[in-house]
Symmetry: C2
Subunit: 155 residues, 2 copies
DNA sequence: GCTGCAATACTCGGATACCCGGTGTCCGAGTCTAACTGG
DNA sequence: CCAGTTAGACTCGGACACCGGGTATCCGAGTATTGCAGC
């Protein structure tokens, strides 16, 4: 999985706290990551419709909908794409004893298993929203940290 | 996911039908794939203890245990490794408002979600064995195909 | 004092290099078979 | 006819190139602000 997924998720949690557009440079500085590369991830999220960008002065990124309406899977698919990790190459139709094509209407057993596992993975990611991540994080961090983060974003 | 996983799984199903060692070249010819590259996958499975290799004439690969005792996950982990796809880089400990390290004993919310999804994926793959794959395949293929495969392996 | 305009600075978006891990290949080490020779 | 030896061929195992996708970066397009000039 692409490393940018982690950055994108952290950005979403931070954007959910902010009430004003946050520029990519600020997001990168907050997380101490490469601004140029983070811009690419934000761009991907913008294409996927998760965030909305406003240009010009005082511009930046905002979530397009409530954090409770954005799942972790949405972010993962925005960055890494929606294609499953496993792609069946129909090995059974090759070789000296190849199965005839008309016998291969249904996906082969291996593809079925992989597809099932992929669905389980996606279901697991779909069950958690950005709001859940924020709530979990709030339970761990020190008191007052959220206010300090808001103040830093405003500066 | 590595493309060799599919080849490895097909080889396991074929090896479960064979009652004698099958050389890598024959496995590659049967599936019409690169013999050199397939050798690498078989080598990985040998290291993982899924197959046993015998050298010399009439040598080849054999499953080390019954097909019902080998899960799809075993094969996937043998080829792709056991490391999870997501690796937390502890972004929360970086930047101007970094969370102090002593506050980070527990994994962050993002890591927890990813770990949970990874576990769901692995559980799904662990629930299916090579024997299940063979049984499913037998239900679809034409009658007599298994016997023909055995005969081809023996030739 | 108010309004319209233009210059400015700031922001995003896509196009462009770089590099590492998977992909693909090869040759040498090891071993089982089998034929041959000697008793 | 049998046993030991040796030659042979076959097999695996690890080391070596190649290439595409993720990683990282930069500069141009676009826009809201803001300062200024004219009315």
């Amino acid at each position: 999985m692409s490393g940018g997924v982690e950055w994108a998720l952290h950005c979403c949690t931070l954007l959910s706290r902010a009430s004003q557009p946050v520029p990519a440079v600020k997001l990168a500085e907050y997380h101490d990551v490469s601004p140029s590369y983070l811009a690419k991830q934000l761009q991907l999220m913008s294409r996927a419709g998760l965030v909305r960008s406003t240009q010009g002065n005082a511009g930046g990124y905002v979530l397009t909908r409530d954090a409770a309406a954005i799942t972790v899977l949405d972010v993962v698919e925005a960055i890494d794409g929606v294609l499953p990790a496993f792609r069946c190459t129909e090995v059974r139709q090759r070789g000296p004893l190849a199965t005839p094509a008309e016998q291969c209407a249904d996906p082969c057993a291996i593809a079925k298993v992989m597809d099932s596992a992929d669905r389980a993975w996606r279901d697991s990611l779909r069950a958690v929203t950005i709001a859940d991540l924020v709530a979990d994080a709030d339970r761990q961090i020190l008191p007052g940290a959220v206010e300090r983060a808001r103040a830093w974003l405003a500066s």
